[in-house]
Amino acid sequence: MTVPIIDCLTHISTGPDDVVGWGPRFLAEDLIAQMDAPRKVFGAPQRVDKSIVFPSLALTVPTSTLTFEEQHAYVIESVAKYSDRLIGGIVMQPRLWNDQVCQSVYKMVHEQGFRMIYLNPSIHKFWLPIKTPSEGAGARKMLYPIFEAALDLDIPVIIHTGEQPYSLPATVDFVAGAFPDVKIIIAHLGTQGEMFTIEALLVAERHPNIYLETSWAMPHMVIEAVHEAGASRLIFGSNCPPLEPTQQIMNIEEAMTFDPPIGMGASVEDTRQVLGGNLARLLKL
């Protein structure tokens, strides 16, 4: 049986995302059309079988007046409508965390099949738990309950990285050590506006609970990541929108399977694990 392609990071929205900067909308149907777009992977036609789908980040910024439940309403509706293709992802603006939100998160996981929590230090304006007393203590107070819930729910936490000052992969190190049984995915391999991939790899080397998501990553850094952390710890994500799944799949396929110097000559089997097998195991699909 062919290993499925599972996309770790997508967004849907009924309106523009004027925080990240794309629009005018990207509906669940648009995402499924992209998942089903004609493409060849390893020379044969293949769709993206499933996607983890998160709400538009614009709905979740600290200045948003929407409740946590309102931020996720469209994703909840879409996951119910396309339950065989879409898996819900939770964007947790940590300053919203309280008993009611905690109950909503448990309900989303237990009853609606949500399988991942997403944190974005840049957009939501917080430090990961660093060592400086005041900043670190505030971050621990805000974030540890979320990681405790992830531990209890047995779902991974994906953390956006790739720019100053909040989203440096090295700052994932502390929480990865504090919660060794929580699977933590470093999004974008540390690359967005700036490239901090090597930091991400150093954190992965220190903590076996760290996984690395591939959207935005340059091919040579995908290659370095496989050599450093092993193919079993890389997880394909498209970050669609604004990125396109086919191009992001090509990025992985070419970087891993092409002979050097374009790629690293990895096996098709290892590459399929990156494109879906690893995430399937992580999510216990």
Partner: protein, 286 residues
């Protein structure tokens, strides 16, 4: 409009790249094989017709090779594929200027020379700026290269993408000193700092002779670029090797898609970006 694909930025080398380190080699036969691969461009299977090739940059930097020695392999390769390959000569201003520049005119006649490439990071210099030091020294190194480009009516490609030598705004003074010489900003400054592409966009908006290369640039900046400067100033680069042709080409042709993945660019606009612009700048039939 010819619907032809021309790659503005490729490297071939018969050995391990001695500075970047990639290897074991990237020979011309493999480049041609990759150019002839099947690429889905807006639903049609297409191939890369022509490429502007450079030597491995490290050969121009370490071991004190002459410009001729550093270009031995691409020059021989162009003789094998004269209808497919064109030379983008890498000029090391510290070692080749002015004594070795004479051979550029010869290469133009004999070896499909169509563009000059300079790389401030590889060769450790600041482009001419506004302060006397180091600009006075820099002008002595860089102006002769631009004078040659002007005399031969060809563009200069400038590597951009990291501090301290290769930040896009540093191009402004030389672009103003040689307003008739087209400048292609390699990687749009995004090589190691993706957000730098925003600075390159401003540079291209404010300087008519500045064009932006697309390798290493991320899709949101490509979208910005399209709206800010138009398809006629965008130039597809694969940077193969070490980048691949497939995913870099796909990133540009995706501008054909509707927002938010693209901008709904027309077929003509897409082919301008992936071939027409660089072919016209370099006087390559396409």
């Amino acid at each position: 409009m010819a619907y032809t694909i021309v790659d503005s930025h490729a490297h071939i080398i018969p050995q391990r790249e001695p500075v970047w380190g990639w290897g074991p080699n990237f020979k011309v036969e493999r480049l041609i094989s990759m150019m002839d691969g099947d690429y889905d461009v807006m639903g049609e299977i297409k191939h890369v017709s022509k490429s502007l090739i450079m030597t491995g940059l490290g050969l121009t930097s370490i071991d004190q090779r002459s410009m001729l020695d550093a270009h031995e392999y691409p020059l021989a390769s162009i003789k094998l594929f004269p209808d497919r390959l064109f030379l983008n000569a890498v000029v090391n201003p510290r070692n080749y200027v002015p004594e070795q520049l004479f051979m550029l005119k010869e290469w133009r006649t004999t070896s499909n020379l169509r563009m000059l490439k300079i790389h401030p990071s590889m060769h450790n210099y600041f482009l001419p700026g506004y302060s006397p030091f180091p600009s006075d020294v820099s002008k002595k190194m860089i102006y002769p290269i631009f004078e040659e480009a002007s005399a031969m009516d060809m563009p200069v490609m400038i590597h951009m993408g990291e501090t301290p030598y290769a930040m896009p705004a540093q191009i402004a003074p030389i672009a103003e000193a040689f307003p008739k010489v087209p400048i292609v900003v390699a990687h749009s400054g995004a090589n190691n700092i993706p957000a730098n592409a925003n600075d390159a966009i401003l540079l291209a908006r404010t300087h008519a002779n500045v064009y932006l290369g697309t390798s290493w640039v991320q899709p949101p900046e490509l979208v910005q670029m399209y709206y800010a400067i138009g398809a006629e100033k965008m130039v597809w680069e694969s940077d193969c090797s070490p980048q691949s042709i497939g995913q870099t080409l796909r990133m540009i042709t995706n501008l054909h898609l509707a927002p938010p993945l693209g901008v709904g660019a027309s077929k003509d606009d897409v082919y301008r970006m992936i071939g027409g612009n660089i072919a016209e700048l370099c006087h390559i039939d396409y």
